[in-house]
């Protein structure tokens, strides 16, 4: 099992049309990284976020447009609420809510990818491997 934390980035294509450089920057920072382009952040549901944490990711990062710049008017704002709802599950389970994150980027404006990747990498490294994720399993299976 790799000991490198994995970050999955769900990127609204309006907010960040090209995700390759961000993934490279994250890998350069010593993480595993995967980016999923989304047609709009409004399409991201709480169960997507939780499922990613359950089967693959140590940290999930959503990149969305500012609330007032969403293609679907309320989409980005409501996504923020769904993310908070998903974080409530993490609190209930006893996992760090910061394993789910959201950064809002203005479409068409230059993005400081180095800074973004540094923020993500710092968070992922601080949190470490997600003990709720498949394959991380720090604890032994208990006998019935």
């Amino acid at each position: 099992m790799s000991k490198k934390p994995e970050v999955v980035v769900l990127a609204c294509q309006q907010a960040l049309p090209e995700t390759g450089p961000l993934v490279e920057a994250l890998e350069g920072a010593g993480l595993r990284a995967r980016a999923v382009p989304e047609p709009c952040s409004s399409k991201i549901e709480a169960f997507h976020l939780l499922r990613l944490l359950a089967v693959e990711a140590d940290c999930v990062w959503v990149l969305a447009c500012p609330e007032d710049a969403c293609l679907l008017r309320e989409g980005s704002r409501r996504l923020g609420k769904r993310l908070e709802h998903a974080r409530e599950y993490l609190r209930e389970i006893g996992l760090e809510p910061e394993r789910l994150n959201l950064t809002r980027l203005s479409p068409g404006e230059p993005v400081d990818l180095t800074r973004l990747a540094t923020d993500m990498a710092d968070t992922a490294r601080t949190l470490g491997l997600n003990p709720g994720c498949r394959g991380r399993g720090p604890k032994k299976e208990q006998p019935q």
Binding site: A46, A54, Y89, I93, L95, K139, Q144
Partner: protein
């Protein structure tokens, strides 16, 4: 529709303790509308339980399914198939759906993931209100279509009481509600006034026969014309 809310994860985990293969079954009608038990909520709960079990040192296989109505037997065939091999089923339907499913799965324990709350409506996004108690003797015809049994804090048949102020029920003084609870009887008055039917309020509603409702023991509807 039936409105429900999810039970705490720890309670759900406790109910299925020891089971290694679970099926989560959603219902895509009422409880999907109130964002508690539809297929999306099945996905949330499945992922959350998977993580919660791992944190307690157990690896549990969780499958997911969802049907349009768990309370109707014909809709349950898919769930019964999906339940093959499951050591326990967690249903995200209302209590009626859980029981219908359990009746179809005599050898598999079926547990509720929701607390069934009430018969209600979506009043606003994210706000569901109780508006019927199934009293068995509907009096909406007298009250302009607004139910005093479920919407008046005292279930008064001839209201209002003397405690309403500024259009609000006096229950707001006893407990914090956001948004505040309107006085159902003032709503009834406004509605009948708008309909030009205020004279209806002069008819005194007689004492109610509560035996038609839940006070009368298990209820049933039997239709000879529909029987086999």
């Amino acid at each position: 529709m039936i409105v429900g809310t999810r039970k705490p994860l720890a309670e759900i985990q406790g109910m299925v303790r020891g089971a290694r293969r679970l099926l989560l079954a959603g219902c895509d009608t009422c409880v999907a509308e109130c964002v508690a038990g539809g297929r999306k909520e099945v996905g949330e709960l499945a992922a959350a339980l998977m993580m919660a079990f791992r944190l307690s040192g157990q690896e549990v296989e969780i499958r997911e399914t969802s049907v349009d109505r768990q309370c109707i037997h014909e809709f349950l065939l898919e769930v019964v198939e999906a339940a093959a091999g499951a050591e326990a089923v967690i249903s995200l339907a209302c209590g009626a759906g859980v029981q219908a499913l359990a009746a179809r799965l005599p050898e598999t324990p079926v547990f509720p993931a929701l607390n069934t709350q009430f018969i209600g409506e979506t009043a606003e996004r994210g706000l569901w209100l109780e508006n019927c108690r199934g009293c068995g003797d509907c009096m909406l015809g007298l009250t302009g279509g607004i139910c005093p049994i479920s919407r008046c804090a005292k279930s008064l048949l001839n209201g209002p009481c003397g405690g309403a102020a500024g259009g609000l029920c006096e229950i707001n003084k006893a407990k914090k509600f956001d948004p505040e609870v309107p006085c159902a009887w003032l709503q009834i008055y406004d509605r009948l006034s708008a309909l030009g039917q205020l004279e209806r309020l002069l008819e005194l509603a007689p004492p109610k026969d509560w035996s038609q409702g839940e006070a009368g023991g298990p209820r049933r509807v039997l239709r000879p014309d529909q029987r086999p």
